[in-house]
């Protein structure tokens, strides 16, 4: 089926295709929250409990983040893996606070990207996400950014915004924007910063 006819099956008013979650579920696509991910899988200690992102979602972000932050991630492999894993955890934490309506929209977007038929037709990504190279991930992001289809532009903005905020907004990455953090003289005198 071609891209345009597939897009027309969307439910009126829905940002992403209402039909995809149903089909993805039937095909066995895992959409349950990942919960605790083993230390080997997450490359971090196993204490964080994922509340929204599924194992497939995590794999999606592991493929996308090197392209999202090309040039900004540490070179050293352990530090690089830590930065990617920590950002994915923060993305999960952020999504919890989105509340049910936008979580539903994101679920549709992630399912669309994780379900092979739509991953191929709409994202033009042929291999599964763990096999996708950084160059291929970047090409996908640019395709959606430059698409004439507003829905795909929206997908690009949603993905890039979630990733950018979680990454550049965190203290570990402030040096990239030369942001010094809150003024020290203020932090030193305000009561809410004492004993922290």
């Amino acid at each position: 089926m071609n891209r345009r006819s597939f897009l027309k099956t969307g439910v009126g008013g829905a940002v992403f295709l209402g039909t995809v979650s149903l089909t993805a579920g039937l095909s066995g696509c895992a959409t349950a929250p990942a919960g605790r991910v083993s230390a080997v899988d997450s490359r971090m200690d196993a204490s964080y409990r994922f509340q929204f992102l599924s194992k497939d979602d995590i794999a999606l972000f592991e493929a996308l983040l090197p392209a999202m932050f090309a040039g900004a991630l540490p070179e050293e492999p352990n530090q690089r893996q830590f930065a990617v894993a920590a950002t994915i955890e923060r993305i999960d934490q952020g999504i919890v606070q989105f509340g049910a309506p936008n979580q539903k929209e994101l679920r549709k977007l992630f399912d669309l990207l994780n379900f092979a038929p739509t991953r191929v037709t709409l994202a033009r990504v042929w291999s599964d996400w763990p096999s996708v190279t950084t160059g291929e991930a970047d090409a996908f992001l640019n395709r959606w950014r430059n698409s004439r289809i507003g829905l795909l532009n929206n997908g690009y903005i949603a993905l890039s915004k979630i990733c950018n905020v979680a990454f550049y907004g965190h203290q570990n990455q402030w040096h990239l924007t030369s942001y010094p953090g809150p003024q020290e003289w203020i932090v030193n005198v305000l009561p809410q910063f004492k004993n922290t």
């Binding site: 940002v15 090309a70 509340g99 309506p101 507003g150 532009n153 203020i186 809410q192």
Partner: protein, 532 residues
């Protein structure tokens, strides 16, 4: 926890504040008035009514955050203090909605800019909507009263460079500019208003009317979401509300039933129509949720030759109304020019990119300066506004189609903002637009902006001001409430927030909400006290 903090002191002194996430069983409470929402409208209403001796219950969907929680940190604040964790958008995703969700509402996270409703707007309302008693003269004492209550005054400290660049560019081009009045007391000029004022200098509802109401025996529930107003015969009998769990977003299963003689809805221009629609209140002309306005915002970013540090200093202190009413109140769309603060998470979220280009842009944050244009929507037939409807789960969603009339204004605004930034010495300017590159000269910018596709998603659009949806007017056929916020069809219901505006304001709206709520609550208090 600091005992110099008014909230900490009040809680310790025995304020009647209930964190609904701690409730374990369904319960009922009763008062003279139930006020839904603790923002600009709800806080003002609750204090005035409570001071008149009426028993008031305040209901807030968000949680109570105060000084101990305000650590000048974007990520925690965006997640906790903003609607949908800062992910709220219009139905098609094209416009990002910045709106508060916490005690104090948007006044807890706004940038303190305080403006009276422009005379042109009040005059338009009189003419178009039969609101003859809302003249500038009639409203003046109400504005003055709220300016005192919220310590509003033109900002006396030098503008930070981020704002001064707007001033410099306007000076060079002969455009008018003024100093912004701010609702602050003892401000430290830190720049963190948008993540909760860490010093309690910001005089929003949290530091003023909410303590005022609670000091006068009002009771407040936070983490409690208003679901439905339930009628008995022709009046509202009670409000059904759901307690949220500790995460603030997942219902716990506990229901609270609140009974009162009168109900005041102040749940925002998205929340109030949502509540009325869920309650299926009488709406014979289908006006609820219609004519929803947002001051659509577009922006440009400049790279300046020296550091600007746009993350420090009072966020907004200079504005230009050069283009706001220059073509008449109802001609081509006008806009107000202001400056936004730029902290890393916000900047990364609004600059639309990824990869090395994004890194290159964001690495220049200290040298970035931004101008925003707030379009004055709702004053023309080709700007009829958006519509609030309910999703399947009962939550409200705003659908806001951007019309060609507005796109023309958006393009004009990009041009004027870039012109001003180059006049102020910018090295390069880009539009917040997927197809914009960095323009090195005004001539290059002018030519390129003329060709930018004016399309949703490609132009990055925002709203920090939500208005309308429960319009006031003298004619029930095109309004939901009258000039006093009294519902046309339900005798014991009032609406006291920005949802009653029949058009957008043409200025940051908090003072307009405060003043109308004060006027309407004063009348309501008299009415309720005389009926025993």
């Amino acid at each position: 926890m600091s005992m110099n903090d008014p909230i900490a002191r009040g809680l310790a002194a025995g304020w009647k504040v209930t964190d609904a996430s701690t409730l374990t069983s369904n319960q009922t409470a009763e008062a003279d008035v139930v006020v839904i929402g603790t923002g600009a409208g709800g806080g003002t209403t609750a204090e005035i009514l409570a001071r008149q001796g009426l028993a008031v219950i305040l209901v807030e969907e968000g949680r109570l955050y105060y000084q101990k929680d305000f650590k000048m940190d974007e990520l925690t604040s965006y997640a906790n203090l903003y609607q949908e964790g800062m992910s709220r958008t219009t139905a098609d995703g094209a416009i990002a909605i910045l709106q508060g969700r916490c005690v104090g509402g948007s006044t807890t996270v706004n940038w303190t800019s305080s403006f009276r409703t422009p005379d042109e707007t009040l005059t338009y309302w009189s003419r178009q909507f039969g609101l003859d008693s809302l003249t500038p003269d009639a409203m003046a004492p109400w504005f003055q009263g709220r300016e005192e209550r919220h310590t509003m005054a033109p900002w006396q400290t030098d503008p930070n460079l981020n704002n001064d660049i707007l001033r410099q560019g306007c000076e060079k081009l002969g455009y008018t500019w003024q100093v912004i009045p701010r609702n602050v007391k003892g401000c430290w000029n830190s720049g963190y208003c948008g993540v909760g004022c860490p010093t309690n200098a910001k005089q929003g509802a949290l530091m003023t009317t909410i303590p005022g109401a609670l000091d006068n025996n009002a009771r407040m529930y936070h983490g409690l979401r208003a679901e439905k107003l339930v009628m008995n015969q022709d009046r509202i009998d009670h409000l059904q509300a759901s307690a949220m769990g500790p995460d603030g977003v997942t219902p716990s299963g506990v229901t609270v039933t609140l009974k009162a003689r009168h109900f005041v809805v102040a749940a925002s221009a998205i929340g109030s129509p949502g509540l009325l629609l869920r309650s299926q209140l009488p709406d014979p002309h289908q006006r609820v949720g219609k004519r929803s306005f947002i001051h659509p915002v577009n922006a440009t970013v400049a790279r300046m030759p020296a550091n600007v540090d746009p993350f420090y200093g009072a966020p907004q202190s200079i504005y230009s109304d050069q283009f706001n009413f220059s073509q008449g109140v109802d001609g081509p769309v006008g806009y107000k020019l202001e400056v936004p603060p730029l902290h890393p998470a916000m900047a990364a979220g609004v600059v639309p990119g990824h990869g090395p280009d994004q890194l290159a842009d964001l690495s220049q944050l200290a040298r970035m300066q931004s101008v925003i244009a707030l379009l004055r929507d709702g004053f023309h037939e080709q700007s009829p506004g958006g519509t609030v409807t309910l999703r399947d789960d009962g939550s409200p969603v705003l659908d806001y189609p951007v019309t060609d009339y507005l796109w023309q204004g958006i393009r004009q605004a990009y041009l004027h903002m870039a012109e001003i930034q180059f006049a102020a010495g910018a090295e390069a300017v880009r539009a917040m637009h997927l197809d914009s590159t960095w323009y090195k000269t005004w001539a290059e910018a002018k030519a390129a902006i003329a060709e930018l596709p004016m399309k949703p998603h490609r132009a990055r659009l925002f709203t920090a001001h939500q208005m309308g949806g429960c319009s006031m007017g003298s004619n029930p056929e095109d309004s939901v409430v009258n000039g006093f916020g009294e519902h046309h069809h339900v005798p014991n219901l009032s609406i006291h927030d920005a949802s009653i505006f029949p058009t957008s304001i043409g200025a940051n709206p908090q003072l307009s909400v405060y003043a109308l709520a004060a006027r309407n609550s004063t009348r309501l208090a008299q009415k309720l006290r005389s009926h025993g």
